[in-house]
């Protein structure tokens, strides 16, 4: 193995890391917010909203991100009315489109994950909350959301790791993040395995860190599920 080549490859790839991180963090934030909206419509009482949310989840969870991104970036540009609308200055930008389609896609998945989280709340604990007069937003904020989030956390950390890898598709729309740069290097040098191993190492480290953070969060949020009691005499 050619160490010099690996080192220079690594440097080139790391230079693209900020782009990957920017895509990732923006789409996790926007995707998360969008998912909250979608899940709210999905479990809420309104039939039209529920139908819309079902359709949204179906389309964005069911089709490949590659196709979604292609259609968002290249497809929207085909329509004159979009090209002449006030949105075009934003949609013209590849980065905006990449974040947009990553967020749209992850929102579909995340909405499903949050819904499973809601589903696994023990019915008895919801009843207890209703019995003290909670409902609507208060019930959601104090009981449903905290429990659902705890339940959803393992699946959500998986989704977040997926997001890191999904950013790789952004090179399709000329946003050159780590994988795109790696593929470009391969096309120049034809050294597929070496370049991909470097890229994989970067993703692995990134995802490992994310996983540790998520595990820490999970541990912090779940003292009640741990075997040992957390109330030493010192607390009293």
């Amino acid at each position: 193995m050619d160490l010099d080549f690996m080192a220079s490859t690594m440097l080139t790839l790391v230079a693209a890391l900020p782009m990957t991180l920017a895509l990732f963090s923006l789409s996790v934030v926007f995707g998360g917010l969008l998912a909250l909206l979608v899940v709210w419509m999905r479990v809420g009482g309104h039939p039209v909203a529920r139908g819309f949310a079902k359709g949204y989840i179906f389309v964005f969870r069911g089709s490949p991100l590659l196709i979604q991104m292609f259609l968002v970036f290249y497809g929207l540009g085909q329509f004159g009315f979009i090209r002449y609308s006030f949105l075009w200055p934003a949609l013209r930008e590849p980065f905006v489109c990449a974040v947009l389609s990553l967020s749209l896609c992850t929102a579909g998945y995340t909405a499903e994950i949050f819904r499973f989280g809601l589903r696994s709340i023990p019915a008895r604990e919801i009843e207890a909350a209703r019995a003290v007069g909670m409902s609507g937003f208060l019930l959601t904020r104090r009981i449903l959301a905290p429990i659902a989030f705890r339940n959803a956390l393992p699946a959500y950390s998986t989704e977040v790791m997926m997001m890191v890898k999904s950013t790789a598709l952004a090179s399709l729309v000329t946003v050159w993040e780590v994988t795109g740069v790696a593929q470009r290097l391969i096309a120049q040098t034809y050294r597929t395995m070496e370049v991909f191993l470097c890229a994989a190492a970067i993703y692995l480290v990134l995802n490992f860190l994310i996983l540790q953070l998520m595990a820490l969060l999970e541990y912090r949020l779940n003292p009640h599920r741990r075997a040992a009691p957390l109330f030493p005499a010192a607390l009293q």
Binding site: F58, L118, M162
Partner: protein
């Protein structure tokens, strides 16, 4: 040529190829799901076991195979696996490339990845079983296998069905990457058709719709299974 001709089944239509590719995607994903179930169960069991070594192996597995881009894993399985097979062939005097069949390599690679995701699903589902019910099983003297078979597995399955549905979706799309092994799956066939006819939008939309057809079929299966599995539970929020 009209759109219908282009995507239809006539001599100038891509319908036939797309249909075969859809079936290919379905097959790769289904085989991968089964491989992933076996691996996922083992890894989940390792991660939940008392042995520290087993736990670390399990964590390493889920971290690596969820953390590394899927494409690389497919490369490694396909080319790494092929080198092994070729080397074995050479040992028996066969000259030249033997390799793993593309389908086997693709399904195996996607299955290994799917196993990492399924392991997490099963682990979560196991943790959702009320402790008391496990204790009750212990208390009547069920041994570990029996407990697993009669109490844990049915309940894990019940809690895991939505998660498995999710993994199925992921695998469906991961299977798009196996085209590097030369397999003509749905994604690659759409791209070939788009590249050959220069009708990118048409074929991307058709490809996307075929994925949605697969999704809606599988959703139906998983929703049915979920409803069956949950009939013993009080209704909660957000039920399908």
């Amino acid at each position: 040529m009209t759109i219908l001709q282009t995507i239809g089944f006539g001599p100038t239509g891509w319908g036939g190829l797309l249909l075969v590719a859809t079936l290919m995607t379905l097959c790769v994903t289904a085989v991968a799901l089964v491989i992933g179930m076996v691996l996922g169960t083992l890894v989940a069991w390792a991660k939940l076991s008392g042995s520290r070594i087993a736990r670390s192996i399990g964590s390493a597995y889920t971290t690596v195979f969820r953390g590394v881009p899927e494409l690389l894993i497919i490369y490694l399985v396909y080319f790494g696996g092929s080198s092994l097979v070729t080397a074995a062939g050479a040992a028996f005097g066969y000259q030249g490339f033997l390799g793993m069949p593309s389908f086997v390599a693709g399904a195996l690679a996607v299955g290994i990845i799917s196993g990492a995701y399924q392991a997490e699903v099963y682990r979560g589902a196991f943790l959702a079983i009320p402790r008391g019910e496990l204790e009750a099983a212990q208390a009547i003297g069920m041994n570990r296998t029996l407990r697993f078979r009669r109490i844990i597995a049915p309940q894990v399955l019940r809690f895991a069905i939505p998660g498995i549905g999710n993994v199925w979706q992921l695998s469906l799309k991961d299977s798009a990457l196996v085209s590097v092994t030369g397999l003509a799956d749905l994604m690659r066939t759409s791209q070939i058709a788009a590249g050959s006819t220069r009708q990118h939008f048409l074929f991307f939309i058709v490809g996307g719709c075929l994925y949605l057809v697969l999704t809606s079929l599988s959703d139906r299966v998983f929703n049915g299974a979920e409803r069956r599995a949950n009939r013993s539970m009080p209704a909660g929020i957000g039920q399908a």
